[in-house]
Amino acid sequence: MNPQESALQVQGLTKRFDRLAVDALDLTVRSGEFYALVGPNGAGKTTTLRMVAGLLRPDAGSVAVFGIDALSDSVAAKQVMAWVSDEPMIYDKLTPLEYLEFVAGLWGIDPATSEPTAHHLLASLGLEPHLHERCEGFSKGMRQKVALAGALVHDPRLIILDEPLTGLDAVSARHVKGLLGDRVRSGCTVIMTTHILEVAERMADRIGVIAAGRLVAEGTLTELRQQNGHNDTSLEDLFIALVDVEAAAA
């Protein structure tokens, strides 16, 4: 696979609620890349990703996923995508295994493939002892892990995660980060929003900083430092500097 192929290409993406949430955003994520989208609360990160995932209809702009127009052929685009939100989307009355069977069925995956994958995923996330327990009694971390396993069971080429580490303990967070790292190494593309800048700093190939619905900076950590003239500062300091400049401009 050509590593420079675009996994996601967003152009002029615009969404207005009471106010402008996403303002003619352009964004390109390369195939096989771990891309972190960071920004202050209300910056438009989640809205952007929800439009990419097909959960919100944009007012203007285009979204292409591996060259598929996600707005005109959403079914084809969804086939290669997975979405994980900060609130785990699972069913209380299903067991993790039943949930994964359902997700695999929705994506039309052959059970001969999906069943071993499901067992492997749940085991690697430490959920093996709970395979046959209903999710209603699970902690936030366990639920998030089930949701993540659901997102991975159909082997998506693009995984979009909105704050996936919120509420996870250190061990669970390590599990999730490890799994995402493995996926990227096997050629999958990951786009993730996070407030934990250390995660973006350590895991992401490139980081996009979004503020007031616009991409205000983008690049590797080194590129971001160079763009802002701070050669050995942390992402947190860079982020605050960028966001402050944007707030002052607004």
Binding site: W83, L94, T95, H132, E133, G137, F138
Partner: protein
């Protein structure tokens, strides 16, 4: 803050919570509460008409009554008590499982016995308030027609409300002790449904078996009931005497209710805290799913349908809510069974009951499958056209309805083929109408919000109810006066069309 001040403060807090819960239930959480309250008042005023139709002719009743009248009145009060008990059990279960403030309360330095005594009183007051609201049109009609002595009816409502709340708390806590917190939730909900419907159904079954009619009054006004009833001065008749204005009976009833609630508070207030702790500790129920090994193959729609069926089967709220509707099918089923040996015309009554039940049940199922989607984002991001998702969900509703009602229709086929055909058509049309209404008024909600589904759209709720009634009437008329069925059918079609026109999703 002194202990007494703290308790007063907590009582105010409880009343505020109860008021807001009640308002949220009435308004569906919308902000235009004044409009909702005005609407409710108009509805209450309108309710005086059916109240007049039902009990207006009894306004001139005076003591002493004959035994048949005493039996009917006492049975009616007992029915009201059973319904209050049902509501109170549901309230108590909700307090144990759904209130998010138990940790806060139990970590506070307040004396838990006192705090939970107030919570018990609050439950009793909310049950009484709701009962007063529903009984007001009936008491008003009696007062207007027969004088202020009927105001004693409000006192009886308060007295039986107190005893119903006390009984509900005792039953729920005993259930906790006997079967544990996780099972109590389901059992209490089922119990609430059975108690609410059980009394009426038992009377109907007795009436069918004895007199071949669905009318429960046939049993109550029978000579046999009068023969077995106790003497006129028995304690059994106190509620009826109190309603008729007997001050002494009313005072004794109120005192009895207060004493019962006081005793429950004294015995159970301490255990209430303990029970609440156990309920919150069991927030991680260890329900085991099926241990089936192999994933099943099939289309995407099949995956959706399978998921919906599993969730419907495992939904405790649905089980309790649906059970009540299904229980109402027991009398027609008994009647059907009886009709094989007796060619009574009363069997025609089965058709509207079945059609009405199918409409109501389809409405509930449709809300759960279409609106109550806990993983809406997951389904929305699946590579499946929304129309196919909706189609799969509608299929689930219709398959469930077919599975429930097909045996009844099949049995009817042996008794009366024409009636079976009419009933089947009625079931299909009523279920389709209720499902369509839920589809047009769909919202995104969690399944656990099922008990508040009526508040998300008043229009949808009323339309669903009127359509079920309309199709039930049409089916009954089709068997008795076909030309009238045409009129009734056209009117009900008009309701469906108007609902579609007013719905937010006409696509």
């Amino acid at each position: 803050m002194s202990s007494a001040t703290a308790l007063t403060w907590f009582a105010r807090h409880e009343i505020r919570l109860a008021r807001r819960e009640w308002l949220a239930m009435m308004t569906g959480g919308r902000r235009k509460r004044t409009r909702a309250v005005v609407g409710l008042l108009i509805f209450a005023a309108f309710m005086h008409l059916p109240a007049y139709a039902v009990i207006g002719r009894f306004a001139n009743l005076r003591a002493p009554l004959d035994k048949s009248s005493l039996i009917v009145m006492t049975a009616t009060i007992f029915l009201a008590w059973a319904l209050m008990l049902s509501q109170a059990i549901e309230s108590v279960t909700r307090v144990f499982y759904a209130r998010a403030d138990l940790d806060l309360i139990m970590s506070s330095p307040a004396r838990l016995e006192n705090v939970f005594s107030i919570r018990i009183v609050a439950i009793a007051l909310s049950v009484i308030a709701m009962a007063l609201l529903f009984s007001t049109p009936f008491v008003d009609v009696l007062v207007i027609g027969g004088g202020i002595r009927w105001l004693a009816g409000f006192g009886v409502v308060v007295a039986i409300g107190l005893s119903a709340a006390a009984m509900a708390i005792a039953v729920t806590i005993v259930l906790f002790r006997l079967i544990g917190p996780s099972r109590t939730r389901l059992v209490a909900q089922i119990l609430a449904a059975v108690i609410g419907a059980g009394f009426v159904i038992a009377l109907q079954i007795a009436a069918i078996l004895s007199y071949g009619t669905l009318s429960r009054f046939a049993v109550l006004t029978s000579d046999a009931a009068a023969r077995f009833a106790p003497d006129a001065d028995s304690i059994v008749w106190w509620p009826a005497r109190a309603v008729l204005g007997d001050g002494e009976a009313l005072l004794l009833l109120l005192a009895g209710g207060l004493m019962l609630l006081g005793a429950v508070m004294a015995i159970f207030a301490g255990k209430f805290a303990d029970t609440a702790v156990r309920a919150s500790a069991s927030a991680r129920p260890n329900h085991q799913g099926s241990r089936r090994k192999a994933f099943r193959s099939g289309s995407r729609q099949q995956a959706l349908r399978r998921k919906e069926f599993v969730l419907l089967r495992r939904d405790p709220w649905l089980v309790s809510q649906t059970l009540m509707q299904l229980l109402y099918l027991v009398p027609p089923a008994v009647m059907l069974w009886r009709s094989f040996s007796d060619s009574s015309m009363a069997i025609v009554l089965i058709t509207p009951v079945i059609v009405m039940a199918s409409g109501q049940l389809a409405g509930g199922l449709a809300w759960l499958t279409i609106s109550g989607e806990d993983a809406a984002d997951l389904v929305a991001t699946a590579p499946l056209k929304p129309s196919r998702v909706i189609r799969a969900k509608i299929e689930v509703v219709l398959i469930a309805i077919a599975a429930i009602f097909a045996p009844l229709v099949a049995a009817l086929l042996f008794a009366s083929p024409l009636q079976a055909v009419v009933t089947a058509a009625g079931v299909i049309i009523a279920a389709a109408s209720a499902t369509a209404i839920q589809l047009w008024f769909r919202v995104q909600a969690r399944r656990s919000q099922f008990r508040r589904r009526q508040t998300s759209s008043r229009l949808a709720t009323f339309a669903e109810a009127f359509c079920s009634i309309g199709w039930a009437a049409t089916a009954a008329l089709a068997l008795a006066i076909p030309i009238a069925a045409l009129v009734s059918g056209l009117m009900t079609t008009g309701i469906v069309a108007a609902t579609w026109k007013l719905s937010p999703r006409r696509d």
